[in-house]
């Protein structure tokens, strides 16, 4: 997985995050569950991290499985703080 830049999906509830984890786990793309970066204060605390190259597939999976998400962000790692851009 790329370490410098990656995408994350946040959720309004931990249950939605856990459901999304199992859905993404059964797909062919590389994802993992991580704590929501400090720079994003909202949402439940768990996020799904993915490679930005897989953005299209991620969107497909979200709509196909009707996943209840809060937002999608691009994270650019900094030395102390990360830079975060909201994508969706």
């Amino acid at each position: 997985m790329k370490d410098k830049e990656y995408g994350i999906i946040t959720f309004k509830s931990t249950h939605f995050a856990i459901k999304a984890e199992s859905v993404f786990g059964s797909q062919s793309i590389n994802t993992r569950t991580i704590p929501v970066p400090r720079e994003i204060s909202r949402s439940c605390g768990l996020a799904i991290r993915f490679d930005l190259d897989d953005m299209e597939k991620v969107d497909q999976i979200i709509s196909e499985f009707n996943l209840d998400i809060d937002g999608i962000y691009k994270v650019i790692k900094g030395d102390n703080l990360n830079k975060v851009e909201k994508l969706n």
Binding site: A17, I18, I34, P35
Partner: protein, 199 residues
């Protein structure tokens, strides 16, 4: 320079380390020569010197090892180390493959989240200890192997309880770190400045 000899021959596992540490703490600078009669003790005393950032050398004699540690000269290294990737005396203990009680499903997610957080936060702990159900985390099929391997590459020591691996019959499934026994586990805990318990 002051020279102190520590004769730790015939002493059981953590004792040579404790004796050496005590003498090192007592002096501002000087040379400590610890004599031990087995390889495990030699390794453990060497590791102690290394973790404190002191210069040391090992001489092998007949049925004995002499570890010469120089305190004072190596202290620059210690400062450097403090700024580096690994924090000298922080130990994290995992007694289960889940985090907290209440929901196993949630606990499994939380522990992944916790270990990921360890990789994102420096300085890293010096040692991670896994025992009882915690050993599942260092074995095949664990969802945190990638993170643990990353931590190991950064110099974090990873220890799994051998008794526990054996109990679960997964000794051959270990994927990261070393197998160790209760003496080492106690030794690491006893010498830790800061222990974080997760389970």
């Amino acid at each position: 320079m002051k020279k102190i000899e520590v004769d730790a021959r015939g002493q059981a596992c953590p004792k040579p380390v404790i004796m050496t540490k005590k003498e090192l703490d007592n002096i501002e600078e000087g040379i400590i020569i610890t004599i031990v009669d087995n390889e495990v003790a030699k390794n453990n005393v060497s590791k102690l010197a290394n973790s404190l950032g002191f210069e040391y050398k090992v001489d092998e004699g007949e049925n004995e090892y002499l570890i010469t540690i120089i305190k004072g000269k190596g202290e620059v290294k210690e400062e450097e180390k403090a700024k580096g990737a690994v924090s000298g005396d922080k130990v994290v203990v995992f007694s289960s493959n889940t985090m907290g009680k209440g929901s196993e499903e949630l606990g499994k997610v939380l522990i992944k989240s916790f270990i990921y957080t360890l990789t994102e936060t420096s300085p890293y702990p010096a040692t991670l200890i896994f025992y009882n159900g915690g050993v599942h985390l260092t074995c095949e099929g664990s969802p945190v192997l990638e993170d643990l391997k990353k931590l190991e590459d950064e110099g974090v020591e990873i220890i799994s309880c051998g008794t526990c691996l054996d109990y679960f019959n997964i000794k051959d499934k270990l994927q990261v770190g070393q197998i160790s026994n209760m003496y080492t586990i106690y030794d690491k805990m006893a010498n830790a400045g800061n222990i974080i318990n997760i389970g």
